[in-house]
Symmetry: C2
């Protein structure tokens, strides 16, 4: 297996954590997004959407979208289970993962796209007013998460799952690249962050620098 990666990007990190949890070996290929390599004709043959991560299987087929790659890996390598063992758990973990994806990620995305790093690239029309709204939304969401973690050890309950992988990559990207660090008063959220960050799969090998 070969993973097309860009180490600073949050979505490939999800797959790196997932592969580490499964204890799998693979080749890592850096796609330099800063140089636009993800939009090259050669790369677009691997993923027409021009994004990383992309997984190349040993038979030459490709899969993109981080969670889709993880879902494939879960089917081939079922242990340790990260998506759910029975019908209800499959639904519940997907629900919790999607709540993180749909309620937090897009707000971080708006702040990122309208923030200073992307502004310098000059590829997107900047809407500072949108960033003002999304910054507030992200911080409000951190407060909601803090309340939830008062009653729940992990995002989907009592064990580490794909939903924790989605949230740790979102928060680590937001705090290191978008200037949206959760307030120190949110002690339940930081308790969860320390718990998840202590896993070998989530440590400095896959974590953003800082």
């Amino acid at each position: 297996m070969k993973l097309y990666d860009y180490s600073a990007a949050p979505n490939p990190r999800k797959v790196r954590i997932f592969l580490a949890e499964k204890g799998l070996d693979y080749d890592l290929v850096q796609v330099d997004m800063a140089k636009g390599e993800h939009k090259s004709p050669e790369f677009l043959k691997k993923n027409p959407s021009g994004k990383v991560p992309v997984l190349e299987l040993d038979d030459g087929r490709f899969l993109s979208e981080s969670i889709a790659i993880c879902r494939y890996l879960e089917a081939v390598y079922p242990e340790p289970n990260l998506f759910g063992k029975d019908a209800y758990e499959l639904g519940h973990i997907e629900m919790r993962n999607r709540v993180m994806e749909t309620e937090l990620w897009p707000q971080i995305g708006v702040s990122w796209v309208n923030g200073p790093i992307v502004a310098k690239m000059g590829i997107y029309k900047q809407i500072p007013e949108a960033k003002e709204v999304s910054d507030v939304n992200v911080n409000n969401y951190y407060e909601r998460l803090d309340k939830e973690f008062a009653h729940s050890e992990y995002v989907a309950g009592v064990r580490f799952t794909i939903a924790d992988i989605t949230l740790i990559t979102a928060i680590d990207f937001a705090r290191t690249s978008v200037g949206l660090k959760p307030d120190e008063s949110l002690t339940n959220l930081w308790r969860w962050h320390a718990l998840v960050s202590s896993r070998d799969s989530v440590d400095e090998i896959t974590a953003p620098k800082k």
Copy 2:
């Protein structure tokens, strides 16, 4: 089973189509979003995010997030298969579904939130500049879909899957509620639309009124 629904909303429609494909009976409970019933204390106990759809199981447990509900139903009622039969197909269908969700849906969402219907509600700060960008993005995406449907019968290949359910609900919502109808010149996209709309599960029972 009981489905908490709002007939005009696109996400509950996904689950109604899915239930119809599986041939399942269930009770339908309307949650009047126009009256704010989805934010009532009683409903927030069913789904703390205050959204429909919500599925209530016969044992009293709840699941929300349309695709998570569908994933649960697929595990309990495997036929007809709508998420994939082997590891690669599970990954491929999830990939195609997520491409529709992440590349098209958020753009429709920005146009909806900053459009005339939501503006009248007075609950979100309006950013007309954001809608100008998202309207263009949606129409560009329709053109990309038209090119893809020149070579692919369905969203994920040769058969109807969850990815088609995601796309038909997105496009029907965009064209009937957001003023974003695909141009008539996009004949491949309209060929797909007619094919999918001819299914009993997608017909006037679940389709938005025009």
